[in-house]
């Protein structure tokens, strides 16, 4: 090949990559623009504070919003202590480089790769049928109480799904706590727990927070894991007990899009619901990014 051809080829390649990049940006902009423009029309205080009416062609999304927040809160309560303790164990207690630790890490990584629907089925089989029914048998004389899809089981299933996020984010920050700080703590006579509690954890708060927010934003977005474990199509009441079903934004979107008796009447509401869901997720991700960059800056300053 002579020079001119090579030149031409390289220009063509530049053009192609730029085009690929442009189409990506354009695609995102189109989707976002569409959702924002159409979604804003119907967005109002009333929309987020009232229940759906007349077969989801009127009214708002309050129960779904309420359910999402409740669900994600429960999930957080479950996943943060579990994830943080796992990370602390792996980083601080487990003998470094042992087979056992490698196995746990591998298990966690694989957990992150499991399709969400599998979590849903697992949740149904394990939490609802095994744990729930077991509780009913032992504590409620077999009366159906916990042995059914419920917000408790759905949140635990989500907790399992988001566990890797929390563990990985926490481990990452534990790893950057300087070795010298641990040594100082020991040299002053600290026990391992005192070292972790007063030296490592305070410096890891940011990372734990980031992990939590990412987990929450992921948890608020997944439908598959809660489909069989507690999410309801429509409920005339808000969930007030752990063993009740609940409505949730993302599933509500799906229901509106596929089950509405009057597609045209539902469409504006659907747009607004998607917008609310997107804003929620973006806000959470944004918060995570800000906290993380602050952490990075602080670490650089500390070195």
């Amino acid at each position: 090949m002579n020079r001119r051809w090579i030149d031409l080829f390289s220009r063509l390649f530049t053009l192609l990559t730029a085009l690929a990049c442009f189409s990506l940006v354009a695609g995102v902009a189109l989707i976002l623009g569409d959702v924002v423009l159409n979604g804003l029309k119907h967005l109002s205080w009333e929309f987020v504070s009232t229940a759906p009416k007349t077969g989801m062609t009127e009214g708002g999304i309050f129960p779904a919003l309420f359910g999402t927040v409740f669900l994600v809160l429960l999930m957080t309560v479950a996943v943060v202590p579990l994830g943080v303790s796992t990370a602390i164990y792996l980083q601080e207690y487990a003998p470094a480089g042992s087979r056992w630790v490698k196995l746990i890490r591998m298990a966690i990584q694989n957990l992150a790769g499991v399709p969400a629907i599998v979590f849903g089925l697992f949740g149904l089989g394990f939490f609802v049928d095994f744990v729930g029914k077991g509780i009913d048998r032992f504590f409620f004389d077999g009366a159906l109480t916990f042995g059914q899809p419920a917000i408790l089981w759905a949140s635990l299933t989500l907790a399992l799904l988001t566990l890797p996020t929390v563990v990985v984010a926490t481990e990452e920050t534990l790893r950057v706590v300087p070795r010298s700080h641990r040594e100082v703590a020991y040299s002053l006579g600290a026990t391992r727990w005192q070292m972790v509690r007063r030296v490592v954890l305070p410096q890891a708060v940011n990372g734990i927070l980031t992990g939590t927010i990412l987990a929450v934003s992921r948890g608020a977005g997944e439908v598959a894991p809660i489909l069989f474990t507690g999410a309801a199509y429509y409920l005339p009441y808000l969930p007030t007990h752990l063993n009740q079903q609940f409505m949730v934004l993302n599933y509500h979107v799906y229901v509106m899009a596929t089950q509405s008796p009057d597609v045209d009447a539902t469409l504006p509401l659907l747009y607004s619901t998607v917008l609310v869901l997107l804003m929620l997720t973006f806000a959470l991700n944004f918060a995570a990014i800000i906290i993380r960059s602050r952490l990075r800056r602080r670490l650089k300053a500390g070195r």
């Binding site: 003998p95 470094a96 300087p178 100082v184 703590a185 002053l188 006579g189 600290a190 007063r198």
Partner: protein
Amino acid sequence: MAATSVHQGNPPAALETPKIAVQDLNLWYGSFHALKNVRVDVLPRKITAFIGPSGCGKSTVLRTFNRMNDLIKGVRVTGKVLIDDHNIYEEDTDLIRLRKRVGMVFQRPNPFPISVFENVAYGPRIHGETRRRRLEELVEKSLRATALWDDLKDRLSTPALGLSPEQQQRLCLSRLLAVEPDVLLMDEPCSALDPIATARIEELAVELSKDFTIVIVTHNMQQAARISHVTAFFLLGELLECGETSQIFTNPKNEKTEQYITGRFG
């Protein structure tokens, strides 16, 4: 064993009972034999300097005194380290109490990324002190001992990482003093400081040696000569010579010691 204070070099003139007596100490990092039959005495309320070329085991010896080597995987130790006549490598040794009594400052100033006050209060807190008044007393006392109090008394709640390197190193010393140890181990405490700060930290070490037993590791011959009473010279994991500093620097017995202090290797 009556002859425990026999030195391989000249014994220091004063026949005081040593604060720390190291007897036939051997240490392995895995299969690497890092310390070989080390015997050395550290006298109370004196400054003992450990000198020797890089990698000869100075830090390793130092870290046996508070058993910080225990934190490293694959370390094996034989022999005795007697502190106040108690062998700290005995099974029943309470590591927490040991490290409270034998404190350490490190090569780089390493305050925690928290406030000045909290840094100094850290040690007392982990040893169970919760009374605010008592903590304040301890912080003031410890900061006074390192001549930081006047500079910092109005800035106790500012972040420790904002201090100058010298102040940070002093703060680390204060943090250590707050747990009320009686032995201070210093592993090249001035290596990250400029000459002026170094001189002032040296002054401080001399001042502190009135109340504390100090062991200092240094690469700086002048530093050892200026501030220490006893100097121990290590080479390849062995103690080659130990004696009064003036004798080591003017009239070393060992040929290798002479070569090292006159700068012919290391």
